[in-house]
Amino acid sequence: MDFRFTETQRLFAGAVGELLNKECTPATLRAMTEGSHSSIQTLWDSLSNMGVIGMTGPEGYGGLGMSDLDLVLIMEEMGRVACPETVIEQTCIGVPILCNVVEGAVDEELIKSLVSGEQRLSTTLGSAYALAADSADYLLLENNSEIYLVPSSEVEMVLQESVDETRRLFSIQWEPTKHTLVEADPNIVRKSLLSAVTATAAQSLGVAIHLLETTISYVKEREQFGKPVGANQAIKHHLADTGKAIEFARPMVHRAAWALSVSDPEEQVAVSMSKYLASKAVNHACRTALQCHGAIGYTMEYDLQIWLKRGWALAATRGDAIAHIDVIGQNILNEEHDLANG
C-alpha cells in the first residue's frame, strides 16, 4: 500500500500546471468568450506539443502510453485554471477508443493526427451535449451501442446556451452511416467513459481548490467592523467545511484513477464514489466562495464567476451526485449477501 505519486507524475503535472498558468488566464478566457470561440487555439497547441492530448495513446501512434493515474494530477491542474479545452473528450475518450479499434477500421493517419492534437474531436459519449463541437474536426457518436466517428461537416450542431460561457455545448443531429461506423472494443468504451468521469471529478477538485484559495485570500484582506471578515467564526467554519470536503474527496479521486489504471474489480464503484464526493465538494466550494465574497462575487467583472460557473457545470456533467449515488447503491445495496459488520 503506497499512496504516493511518482516523481515523474508530479513533475509532469507541475510542468503542465506552469503552462496553464501562463496560457489559461482570466484574460485569455474572457477574450475567448468575447470572440464567441469554444477554445483557446494557442493553448490547445501548447498542450498538444507537450504530449498531453495524446498521452493516453500508445507510442506506436505517437502517444505517451500513459494511464489514468498519470493523468489525474494534470486534470486537477486544468480545473484549477478553468481550462476550457476538450481534453476529457479527446484524451480520455477519443484516443483510447480509436487507438484500440479493429485494425484498418479507422485510417491510421487520422488516429495519429488525433493523438498529436493536430485534428480535434468532441463527443456525446457519456454526456448529453458535445463540448466545443464547433472547434472539432470529428465527432465520436453513439447509436444503438455502436460507435461512429463522423466528420463535423456531416452533422448539424445547435448551440445550447449554458451558464458557463467558457464551456460551449452543442446538441448534435446526425444519421449513422456504414462508412462512419468504427468497430470499437466495448470494454475500452466502458473504461474510457469511467476515465472521463474520473477526470471530471479531478477537474471539479481543481476548481474547488482554486475557489477555496481565492476565498481565503479575499477574506484575509477584506475588512469590516475594523477587522478582516475572515476573523469571524461563521466565515471560518464555512471555509473549514469546504476544506474538509476537498480533503476527503481527493484521495478517492486518486484511488479511482489508480483502480482504472490496474483494472481493479472495484473500479466502477471507486469512480462513482469519486465523482459523487467531488461533485459535492465543488458545489460546497461554490456556495461558500460566493457567500464569503458577498456582492463582489455576484458580478461578471470579478473573475470568481468563471470558477463558480465551471464548478456548477462540472458538478452536474457526467453524472451528478445523485446519479452516482444510484450506481454505488446498485453495487452495494443490491448484493445478496450481508457485509461483515461485527
Binding site: 503506497d2 504516493r4 505519486f5 484575509k220 467564526q233 480533503e247 484521495p251 445495496l333 459488520n341
Partner: protein, 389 residues
C-alpha cells in the same frame, strides 16, 4: 502509487482475523463502564496482550509487534468487523502511550508502557474541569512542589473510565502565579493516592462512564511528571493530535457501522418494508463517506510512513469521523422508524445491533477531544491560515 495490500500486509490481516474468530468471547459482557464489565474488559486486554495483539504497533520490548501503520489500520478494521469487545484502555494505549513514547524518560517508559499494554493499569484522562472545557488553558487545579512530591488541589470532571481506572493522566498548574498556557505540567497520578475522591457520573445512556475527581492535598511523586515542569501544554498537544487524528479513530469502527447500516437496509427489504429514495440516498452517502474516511486515512498513513508529519490537519479527521458516526446512526434510526426509539433489551428490537445506544454514543463524538466548533477554528486558523482576530 499502489493501493493493493502487499503479501505481508494480507498475511498480517489474515492472522488477526483468524485469531479474533478463535478468541473473541462468545457471551455478551456487561457494559465496559460498569464495575463488573470494567473488570471483564480488563481480562480481554490481557488476553490480547498474551498474543501480542493489545498494542501491535508498539515496539516488541513493550508488548507490541512493531507493525507498520498500514498493518495497524488493517488490525483495527478486522477488530471492529469481528465484533470483539470494546477496548477499555483506549485512553492509555492511544492517547498516553504515544505521548510517553515522545516525551517520557527511559525510566517512565519502562515503568508505564508494559503494564498499560497488559491491561494491568487502565488509564483515565484528567483534563476538563468544571470551568474548563474547550478552553483548556484556563484550568485551575494546582500542583505545588513540596520536596519530592507535588501537592494537588482542585477538581477534574468528565473523566471517561474515571470511576474504575487505575491511573489518571492530568494537566495541572504547577506555577500558581502563571496564566494560561505557561506554568502547566503533565502529571501521571495513581487513582488510589490519598486525597483523591472519585464520584461516578452517569452518561446520557445511564452508564457511569464519567467520573468527577477531587484532589484534596493529594501527594504525587515528582517522578511522575511527563516532560519538564511548565511544559504541560506542549506535551498535551502531542496527546491532543493523537486524540483527533488517526491514533484514536482508525476507520474500522465506522466501516463496521456503515456495513451494519447496509445490512439493516437489506433486512428491511427482505421484510418487504418500503424504503423511501431519500433514505436510500442517505445510506449510500454514509457508506461512501465511511469509504472516503478509510482511504483518506490510508493516504495519510502512507505519507506518515514516508517521513511526513501530521499537524493541525488532524482536526479535519476529528470533524469527519465524529459527524460521520452521528449520520450513520441517525440514518439507521430513520430506517427503523417506530422501532428506532427502542433499546436493545426491548422484545421488538432488532437484535443485531443496538442502534439507539450507538446513536447516543456517537453524539459524544462532536463534543469530546475538543468540540467540532473548536476543530473548525483550528482548521481555519492553522491549516487555511485565516486570522485569529
Amino acid at each position: 502509487m499502489d493501493l493493493a495490500f502487499s503479501t505481508s500486509e494480507i498475511e498480517f490481516r489474515d492472522e488477526i482475523r483468524t485469531w479474533l474468530n478463535e478468541h473473541k468471547p462468545s457471551e455478551k459482557w456487561l457494559a465496559m463502564d460498569t464495575e463488573i464489565g470494567f473488570e471483564q474488559h480488563r481480562t480481554w486486554e490481557h488476553k490480547l496482550f498474551e498474543s501480542k495483539w493489545s498494542v501491535p504497533n508498539w515496539p516488541n520490548e513493550y508488548g507490541g509487534r512493531d507493525c507498520s501503520l498500514i498493518e495497524w489500520l488493517l488490525f483495527e478494521e478486522e477488530y471492529y468487523l469481528s465484533g470483539a469487545p470494546g477496548r477499555v484502555n483506549t485512553n492509555g494505549i492511544t492517547l498516553l502511550g504515544p505521548t510517553l513514547f515522545e516525551w517520557g524518560t527511559q525510566d517512565q517508559k519502562d515503568r508505564f508502557l508494559l503494564p498499560m499494554a497488559e491491561g494491568k493499569e487502565i488509564w483515565a484522562q484528567g483534563w476538563s474541569e468544571p470551568n474548563t472545557g474547550s478552553d483548556l488553558a484556563s484550568l485551575s487545579t494546582t500542583a505545588i512542589k513540596d520536596g519530592d512530591n507535588y501537592i494537588l488541589n482542585g477538581q477534574k470532571t468528565w473523566c471517561s473510565r474515571g470511576a474504575w481506572a487505575d491511573w489518571i493522566f492530568c494537566i495541572v498548574r504547577t506555577d500558581p502565579e502563571s496564566q494560561r498556557h505557561s506554568g502547566l505540567s503533565y502529571l501521571l497520578v495513581p487513582a488510589d493516592a490519598p486525597g483523591i475522591t472519585r464520584r461516578p457520573v452517569s452518561r446520557l445512556d445511564g452508564e457511569p462512564a464519567f467520573a468527577e475527581i477531587f484532589f484534596d492535598d493529594c501527594q504525587v511523586s515528582t517522578e511522575n511528571l511527563l516532560g519538564g515542569e511548565g511544559e504541560g501544554w506542549k506535551v498535551a498537544m502531542a496527546t491532543a493530535s493523537s486524540e483527533r487524528g488517526l491514533n484514536l479513530r482508525a476507520p474500522g469502527r465506522f466501516l463496521a457501522a456503515a456495513n451494519q447500516l447496509v445490512n439493516l437496509y437489506k433486512r428491511l427489504i427482505r421484510e418487504n418494508k418500503k424504503i423511501p429514495p431519500e433514505l436510500f440516498n442517505k445510506i449510500v452517502d454514509g457508506y461512501t463517506a465511511a469509504q472516503a474516511y478509510r482511504w483518506q486515512v490510508f493516504s495519510k498513513a502512507s505519507s506518515l510512513m514516508h517521513g511526513e508529519t501530521m499537524g493541525a490537519e488532524a482536526s479535519y479527521m476529528k470533524i469527519f469521523w465524529s459527524e460521520l458516526d452521528v449520520d450513520l446512526h441517525a440514518t439507521a434510526l430513520e430506517l427503523l422508524a417506530e422501532r428506532g426509539e427502542l433499546l436493545a433489551s426491548a422484545p421488538d428490537a432488532i437484535a443485531e445491533y443496538d442502534w439507539m445506544s450507538g446513536y447516543l454514543f456517537s453524539l459524544s463524538g462532536p463534543i469530546y477531544a475538543g468540540t467540532n466548533e473548536i476543530q473548525r477554528n483550528i482548521v481555519a486558523e492553522r491549516v487555511l491560515g485565516l486570522p485569529r482576530k
